[in-house]
Symmetry: C2
């Protein structure tokens, strides 16, 4: 039996830093650009995969075929308002217990997570 562990390497630190810098969901390519290609895209994908698995980031899709990732700050789950014009994203928090209770009543699914995103126009683009 050998010891196993996840290593906190330089690339991983940088990717974490990048995720921390953005306060919204970003794509692998955006992280890559922010880090000025210092880290290979492959490693970014693999790191994001890992971070998702150990539950420190959340994955979102805004409908343009790119996956986006965001640090889960203090386990607080939030939602997004996405501007259809400029792509800007605003975070929004909501008490959704009611909503979840309603769904639990209506269905016999065992619900583990949910995604809620709003699309429209930001103040600047209206």
């Amino acid at each position: 039996m050998t010891k196993i562990g996840i290593r906190y390497t330089k690339p991983r630190k940088l990717i974490f830093k990048a995720l921390n810098h953005f306060s919204k969901p970003v794509s692998a390519a955006e992280i890559n650009f922010y880090l000025k290609n210092k880290i290979d895209l492959t490693s970014i994908y693999r790191t994001l995969e890992l971070m998702k698995k150990i539950n420190i980031i959340e994955e979102t899709e805004f409908g343009d075929g790119k996956k986006r990732y965001e640090l889960m700050k203090n386990n607080k789950h939030h939602h997004h308002l996405v501007c259809e014009n400029c792509g800007d994203v605003e975070n929004i928090e909501m008490k959704e217990d009611n909503l979840l209770d309603k769904v639990k009543n209506k269905s016999s699914f065992l619900i583990k997570e949910h995604k809620l995103e709003f699309f429209g126009l930001c103040p600047n683009c209206q």
Copy 2:
């Protein structure tokens, strides 16, 4: 000035029929398979794009990198419960005026649409 129009062609009829057959969001590839490759995938993509534009289908993403499409039956917008194990989908309707009002109060975004999906385990997979 020439007249312009959208034609209701055989491929489009078939794609419509396929969308009507499934009662859940399906990918271009699933439509293609259902139609036994009779229609080229390219045309399926183009037709879906068109139907989205004229607002007779809705686009959803469940997080696996494929876009899915579903007929908008009598303008009623609904949400989905997705089984993380078998991929089965259940439709769910909800009164969400409260939710939308809350968002409108909290933010100065002009909201045009929203997406709400639940992920978990269906009765069979629990």
